[in-house]
Each structure stands twice: as C-alpha cells, then as structure tokens.
Symmetry: C2
Subunit: 229 residues, 2 copies
Amino acid sequence: MTNPSLYPRPALTVDCVVFGLDQQGLQVLLIQRDVPPFAGEWALPGGFVRLDESLDAAARRELSEETGVRIEYLEQLYTFGAVDRDPRERVVTVAYYALVKLASHAPVAATDARAAQWFPIGSTPKVAFDHEQILTAALERLRGKLRRKPVGFDLLPPRFSLRQLQQLYEQVLGRELDKRNFRKKILGMDLLVETDERESGVAHRAARLYRFDVKKYQRLCLQGFHFEV
Amino acid sequence: MTNPSLYPRPALTVDCVVFGLDQQGLQVLLIQRDVPPFAGEWALPGGFVRLDESLDAAARRELSEETGVRIEYLEQLYTFGAVDRDPRERVVTVAYYALVKLASHAPVAATDARAAQWFPIGSTPKVAFDHEQILTAALERLRGKLRRKPVGFDLLPPRFSLRQLQQLYEQVLGRELDKRNFRKKILGMDLLVETDERESGVAHRAARLYRFDVKKYQRLCLQGFHFEV
DNA sequence: CCAAAAGTGTTTCACGTACACCCATGC
DNA sequence: GCATGGGTGTACGTGAAACACTTTTGG
C-alpha cells in the first residue's frame, strides 16, 4: 500500500433502502431520477460521499435532502462494486437500509423538487442501476434482523397494539403466526409495558396499546438476553 | 445525483481478515508494513481497488499478491469510512474476511518481500489504522456465520475427525460443548460421510475421519434445510 | 498395564406448536 | 343483536441439555 493519490479512484456513493409500514403493509421509498442515466426511472435515494463526512453521515444527509423522512434505524447493508454497475463510469456504492415510522409521515414526503413515493414491497416498479439487487438484499437482511433484534418497533408508532406488532411480523416474514403463541412469546419476554391507552376509531372492541421498553431491553442484553421471534 | 466526475473522491481500498486454524487454535494473518504511515507495524493485508476489477476481485488479488494463501471462503464484512481513519487523507475501506486451510500451508506464507505472520486470536499485536476494529468485527461475524452455515469445514482439512470439528467450534464460539450431544447433532444432519481413513500419529485410539458432503448440503438447502450448531 | 481419547444412550425439561371459545365494543 | 376482532389456557411432541462408562490403541 503506497501513496493513495497515485491511483485513479472509483466514485463512491451511498444508497438507501427506506422501509416503512402502513395499512397496506411494508413499503419502500423510491425517488424518480431527473437526470441521465435512467432519467425518469425510479431509484433508491442516494448520492456521492463527501470527503469530510463518514459513510453513515452521508447516508443520513442524502435521506434528509432527498426525502425528509425522520430515520428511526439505520444500518449499513453491503457495498456493491461490480465494474459496470453504472454506465457512466466506475461507481462503488455503500448501501444502507433504514426504518421509519410511516404512520407519522405524510404519505409522500419530499423536501426538494424530486418526486418521492412509497411502493409496497412486491409491487415496486423497475428501478435503475443494480438497485433491484440492493432492494432484494435489504429485504433479506431486514427479515433476519427482525427475527433476532427488536427493530420492528422502529416501524411502529410509539404505542401499538399486539395485533399491529403481529401483523408486522407476518408481513415481513411472509407467513401467518398463531395469535396466542405470538402473544405468549412476546409478553413472556417482559419487554412490553401496558399503557392505559386503547386503540380508537375501530368498529369493535378496542385493543390495549403497549410500548417497547428500550432501557429494559438494553439491561437484559448485558445479561446475555437474546431477543428472537 | 449529478456528474460523478465533479466530486473529489475518497480513496478506496479493500482489507482482509484471514482466518486459519492450527493446533494452537484460531489464527489471523497479518503483514508488516514497510512504508509510512505505521511503517514497521502489523496490519491487515489489503490495498487499493483498481478501476477495472470488482471489490471481490480486488480482495482476492491483494490476498494472492501479499500472502499467497489459497482462499477457501471469502465474504464481504463491512465498509469502514470514518473520516480520519487514515492519517494521510480520506480512505474508505471495504473489509473482507477469508477462511483458509491452514494445515496445508507453511506456517508463514508470503510470496512477496513483505513479512507475513500468523497470530493467535487474542494475542494479536497492535495493528495499524482502525484494523483492530475490523478484526473485532470479523471475529464477531465469523462466530455468527459458523453457527448458521457450514463454513467451519473451510478451516479444516478435507478429511477430519469429529474431535477436530468440535474443537473448532469450541475455540471459535469460546465455550465447551458436550461430546455426545455434539456428535448426535452433527451426525444427525447426515451431512458428514465416513471415510475409511483414520487419524494417524496419535498416542491413543485413532479417530475415524469424515468429509463434508457439499452436494448433499446444497440439495438439502433447496428443500429448506437450515444448518445450525 | 497405563494413559489418552474414541465411541456410545437415556432421561429430563423447556419450548414451540396446534388448537377453540367467550368477551367487549361499535354500529 | 350482530359483526368484528380482543383476549385467554391446555395438551402434545420435538429437540436441547445433562450425564458416565466401556473400548481401542500406542507406548
């Protein structure tokens, strides 16, 4: 490893897969490109990494600039570096995925002029570059993460019903779960605290709302506790 | 996302954590730097990504140039991009980890002039840059991977005893396992085939040697089989 | 014959899974 | 009063964990 300045360099970008949850299920946020290549096509929000910012910071900045969503959870996913993934020239991209509380946002949130839109997983349009591959990888990672870490709560409002929680797991894991077993398991971890609030605006018995006790989770983790659904 | 050539770019490198297993346990391969910064200190093998090679290709090339080891398994780990991780200038590195069959190599393998040396996990010297952090991340990832995928066989010779396999798991996972339960579980997966060879050169009853049936594993995976130790 | 590791079964307990009914509420 | 989902307990089976002794071989 000699002097770095002697080598021609790939361009370096970050791209983000933003997941949100609403009544229709799990959604991804895409933006419409306004410049070539792939002008007019949908793509993941992202952009170039600046010299004075870390990769995480670049991801957060791009998300804030392009979508204005408030990020609950952000994790680096994988770095994609196929030689021809950008037709212009060599571009390596560090992909991230993010979770947001979709319920608290306007359905389409975009701070700058670009169109941003939520698409249900499984009904995404054709996307630019190798972004399809990134989307797939992100979803796979989310599935694994959700089972092993309590990140699901970052997709839900601060207070939620057990039904909401169960539906989240069902949608992301792609299979049905038994109501009684699910409640037994989740409540058995002793990480949810009952609030005295209840669901409102439903045409049936209102469900009790719970909140996730982050502090308690962190304490348990130090004692070797392992979250798993 | 406008024209990439308008932005100043970070330098981009790959660094590899190479794991091998011998009688002393799990080892990591480090090389001694011969140029500043950190000249004389130990570091992970790695180097700059060229414009005409993918990230994986760059990792393989660097490993071959700097260490000459034959790679059994290679996986991208994480991309490290703190602003000041290289004192010279902004350098982002894509870290990989690799598994090699150490028994079949000379204890120190280096094809070019640089010193390369194996160090036991837990007795590594001070390393340059943020390589300590990368090492830690690699070990953590290896632990998880080993439990969920049959990558352990990439650290063992093609024919191995159950004891060797068990010791591998004990060393990497950092805890003792019950011999009978271990054998029951492993043999129960029906992925090891008995060979008619036995251990040699031991001062006690010689153990039977097994080999891992990759084909069968792949077939089972398609049917939803899930490896777990 | 002694040291050292190979090889082998059973019992116990925890946890996952399957499964059905009454209750509260809004309309 | 009816439709809709909220909320609850039990029985069964599978799989993990604990546990000790006999066999083989080399020196």
